[in-house]
Structures are given as structure tokens and as C-alpha cells.
Amino acid sequence: MTATISPKRTHESPSIRTNVRGYAERVRGGDMGALPAVFGIVVLCTIFAILRPAFLTNGNFANLFTQGAAVTVIAMGLVFVLLLGEIDLSAGFASGVCAAVLAIMLSNQGLPWYVAVGAAILTGVVIGTTLGSIVAKLGIPSFVVTLAAFLAFQGLVLLLVQGGTIIAIRDETILAIANKNLPPVLGWILLAVGVAAYAGLQLLRARKRAARSLTFDPISLIAIRVAALALLGGLAVYFLNLERSRNAAVVSLAGVPIVVPIIVVLLVVLTFVLRRTAFGRHLYAVGGNAEAARRAGINVDRMKISAFVICSSMAAVGGIMAASRASSVDPNTGGSNVLLYAVGAAVIGGTSLFGGKGRVLDAVLGGAVVAIIENGMGLMGYSAGIKFMVTGSVLLLAAMVDALSRKRAAATGLR
């Protein structure tokens, strides 16, 4: 309490011990950041691993990524809309529409893959602009607007793929996204580049703040973080680089699935946008208190439109991944539980439906929870009814870990 607000007078360079103690205190106080979600994931994995040893094989580990990719990407986009306290029920079918556009360009028009991908993402941008404008300018609740869009896009996909037929995708590049792996060497190279960049940025930042005599992270702490990243990343790359083909002579299945670097890049870019740009800052502000943001001169309407554009564009990326994985597009692409799972992933990760609170990483962690549940349940061999029931219960269990810790935070007065 006696500390002063001048940054100059706070500890010049907090020792690593202070940092660790501070972290431990924050955790005890209930501010756990990503810990509960990670803990939930560990619990889930342990349960499944005990029940079904196959869960722990490295083949299954690789499966997890491709299985969860589309929902995770859509959830990442939804975070932007949820941050404003809005919702996008149409994200699922928007991904279907974009996938259909992709498929038509590729298969029916025979255009090269980059044109098709461009067209799909452009479709996402157009969809987002339209939805965002209606929500912002007309003031219709986003639930209703996107419910209408949910219906309309469902119809649009049907029209695009012409009433129930299926458009097969044969473009090797697109198919590779969800079905192929990086060459093992490239996996290592990317990891090395990533870790080096992270370390460099952290050091640079510390040096700059030190020069201005602001508080900065000690070298030792940075070293620990970098080491942790390198270790975890290294383990992942190592296991993914193991041969997982049942018949390696016929086909070699080894390497990091291509979706992994895509998701990592999206995660880094979107996190950068949210935390290091004025745009991201304004998103949080509008979600926290739209009136205060408006009074601060922020163009609230434009923020809403942008959020919907990002959401629909990410839906387009998700749609491309789904199309690649299914190697086809049909009227149900993006339908079914895709939307609920995506919103669920964001919310389980800790994003609030009331706006102002959420991170892109949350969506990835939540997406991992959803993917693990789907993956694990797939190994259990329950009948349809039982499977639904167990899936629901496991989802609740995963969310409970997180919620209980947050409950504790609320009790100590933090939010």
C-alpha cells in the first residue's frame, strides 16, 4: 500500500525470486491466467490415457491437431466478436459458404488454389462487413442478425453446392493443409526460428525499459520462459516427427501437421493485434464500457464492423481447413455442432459473453479441450446416446476446473 505509483521508484530490476513469488501470490490470490485451462487439459488427457492407452500414441497426438483445427480457428475469430459483447451465430455456416466458394473456384472453375483461397477469404470479409454494418448501423441485436444469417447462409450453401450434391476437392495444395505434414527438418527449423525470435523480442524489450528505468523482467526470468518454450515446443516437434504410419514403407507419416504452424501464426498475429495495437485496445474498451469508449472518441460502429470482419474471415480460414480435411464441400459443411463448439471453446477458455474479457489463446486452449473430448470419446466406443451424454458430462467437468478457480478469485475480490 505504501508503494508509490512512480515507475522510477519501484524496484529497479526485480530479482527472479520476487517474480516467482509474485506469480505464486497471484495464483494463490486466484489470478491464474491460463493455468486452470491447462490443468483441465491435463486432467482430461490423464483420464483418457488411463481408459484408452491408444490415446497416448503419437499418431493420436497428431490427429488431435487436425481434428480440432477448424473449430479452433473459428473460435479464435469469435473471440473478437465476443469481446464486444456481441455474438455471431452464423460463423459456422459462414465457414461453409466460404468453403463452397473455394470448392467452386477450384473444382468447377478450375482456378489455381491461391485465387480460390483469396476468393474464400474475400467472401468472409464481405460477410463480416455486411453483418457488422447491420448490427452497428441499424442497432439490431447481433443474436437476431446472425440468427437470420445462420438461416440464410444455410440456404446459400445449399444453393452453391446445388441442392445436396457434393463438390470434391482435388487440389493438392488445399488437400495438404489438413492432411499433410511438414518435413521433419522444417519442423525443427521453424521451432528454432520461433524460439529465437521470442527470446530476441523479450531481451530487446527488457533492455529498452531498463534504459528508461521502468520495471523490467530480469534476464533470468526471460531465460526461464525461453527455455520452457523451447522445451515444450521441442517435445511436441520430437513426438510429431516420429514415424506414425502403420506401414511406413507405403507411406511415411511423420512431421508436424501443416495446420500447426498455421494456427501458431494466426495465434501470434491475432494476439499481437489484441495486445499491442490501438485497435485491440479499443476492442477491449468497447467491450468493457461502450459508452466510455464512445466518449473517448472511439468509433464504436467501426470497431463492431471490424470485429465481425475478423470473425467471418477467420471462419473462412476455418472453412478452408474443413474443406481440406473432408476433401470436399457439402451442404452441411460448417453446420452441425461447429458453431456451438466454437463458441463453447472460446467460453471454456475464459472469454466472457458479456464482452471486455478474453484472449485468442483462450480460444486455442478451449479448442484443445473440445478436440481432446471429441478425440477421446472417439476411442471409447460408446453407443450414440451414451456418447452424447458422456461428452456433455466431460465438457462440464473440463469447464468446472476453470470455473472453480475463478470462483475462488471472486471470493478474494479479484475478477
Partner: protein, 254 residues
């Protein structure tokens, strides 16, 4: 000298309730104008009309002698009007620095320049005698009433507006902080800015203001030089809308 900000014949209704009736109000550079009035007289509403929060129903809005259209807070900001609202309008989910720079973040290229912002925020808060804030990275939600108010004030004075309007800025402040804010108000006016201070504390009003404008039930009862009136006269204007030859006669300013 033409007033930097002048309102003429402002009317404002909320649905069937008319809150401001034909209000004239002018603010001069280099002066502190106190805006006083009873609870519910319409002071905050008038300020929000100035700030572009509420559209005005009718009347003229002049800035630097020229008629302008202020449709949103952006417009008001562009004119150089800084306002501390009575309800503070802070984002509870952001920290102190983030709130202070909201809408006017310092950047290096695309990236936010957090270091500069932290430094500037700390300097401004220090000048306002804030001593109990643990860290300027604390969320605004966890601040005490007075601390919140200080952040809102700091946010407004961080920028060199031409007109600074403070709606009951010292209501939640302690003794020392109040003195600091009043001193700041005087200093801003002396630097050539126009300052509008809304307050229920007559001592403060008489201590710093050059002019006093009194609202009574949504009408401007009088706008006079502080040196021309007494404490008692102002209180009378506030409570009854009249005092001697000053004030309203049958609802019309004389």
C-alpha cells in the same frame, strides 16, 4: 473578446420531459467559469450536450465565434474540448494507463508505445497527489472512489484541450487532493485555457472561479462575474432562481 465556447437558446428534452429550456452559456479563454445549480437542475445534461453525448433539440453551438455541429464526442474532442463527466466513464476492464490514454494511444509505428504512456501517466498522477495507488497497471475496477475520480481528471488534463470541463471533479476527493485539483483548475485557466467547473461547494467556487453561471430547473438564471456577487446571493439563485434583480422572472432571464 468573443467567448471560445458559446451556447445560445439550447433546448433539450428526454422524451416528454424537457430538461433544458432556452439555455445561454458562454465560456472564455483564461477564465474559470463555475456552473452551479441544484441537484437535477440540468448541469450534467448541459455538459453532455456540449460534449456531443446528447444531441441538442434546438439552439446554436458556437466555437471561437463560429457555428459548429457537434454530433459526437469525436467532434467535441476535435474542437479541443476535454470533459470529466460526473459518472467518470472509465473502462473497468482496463488498467489506469490504458484508461488515461484511451482513444489517444501513443504509438511507435503500429505498435503501442507502452513505455512512454506509463511514464506520462505516472507523471500526471503524481502531480495530482495520488499516493495510495499500488501500481499504475492496476485495473480501474479495483480503485477506490477517489482514485477513480483522480484517474478521470488526469485523463482529461493529460491533453492540451482549449476548453476543460470538470463535472463535480472533487466530489469524492480527500482534503489534499481537492486542494490539488482546485490549484490545477486555476493553473489551467492562467495558462490561457477555458475551464468550466461544476461544483456544489460554494467555497471552492468562490476560491477559483471568475464567473458563475447558475442553472435553475433547466433555465439559466444568471451568468455573472464572481466578484459581483456574494456567497448568499449565489445560494439564493440556486435554490429559488432569483436574488434581487438577478435571476428569472416568471421563468425568463432578465
Amino acid at each position: 473578446m468573443t467567448p471560445v465556447l458559446e451556447l445560445r437558446g439550447i433546448d433539450k428534452s428526454f422524451g416528454p420531459v424537457q430538461v433544458l429550456h432556452d439555455v445561454d452559456f458562454s465560456v472564455h479563454l483564461g477564465e474559470v467559469t463555475a456552473l452551479v445549480g441544484d441537484n437535477g437542475a440540468g448541469k450534467s445534461t448541459l455538459v453532455k450536450c456540449v460534449g456531443g453525448i446528447y444531441p441538442i433539440d434546438s439552439g446554436d453551438y458556437l466555437f471561437d465565434g463560429k457555428a459548429v455541429q457537434v454530433h459526437s464526442p469525436r467532434d467535441a474532442g476535435a474542437l479541443g474540448i476535454e470533459i470529466v463527466y460526473q459518472d467518470l466513464a472509465l473502462c473497468d476492464n482496463l488498467d489506469i494507463v490504458q484508461n488515461m490514454f484511451l482513444g489517444r494511444e501513443q504509438k511507435r509505428g503500429l505498435v503501442l508505445d507502452e513505455d512512454t504512456m506509463e511514464e506520462m501517466a505516472a507523471r500526471t498522477l503524481e502531480s495530482l497527489s495520488v499516493r495510495t495507488v499500488k501500481s499504475i497497471r492496476q485495473l480501474v475496477a479495483s480503485l477506490s472512489g477517489g482514485q477513480r475520480q483522480t484517474v478521470a481528471i488526469a485523463k482529461a488534463v493529460l491533453w492540451n484541450g482549449k476548453v476543460v470541463i470538470l463535472d463535480e471533479p472533487t466530489a469524492a476527493l480527500g482534503v489534499a487532493q481537492t486542494a490539488q485539483v482546485l490549484e490545477l483548475v486555476r493553473r489551467l485557466a492562467d495558462q490561457g485555457l477555458a475551464v468550466v467547473l461544476i461544483s456544489h461547494n460554494m467555497n471552492d467556487v468562490f476560491a477559483v472561479s471568475d464567473r458563475i453561471a447558475t442553472l435553475y430547473l433547466g433555465r439559466m438564471a444568471a451568468q455573472v462575474k464572481t466578484s459581483d456577487v456574494t456567497h448568499a446571493q449565489v445560494v439564493e439563485l440556486i435554490t429559488s432562481g432569483r436574488s434581487g434583480d438577478l435571476g428569472l422572472t416568471n421563468g425568463v432571464t432578465v
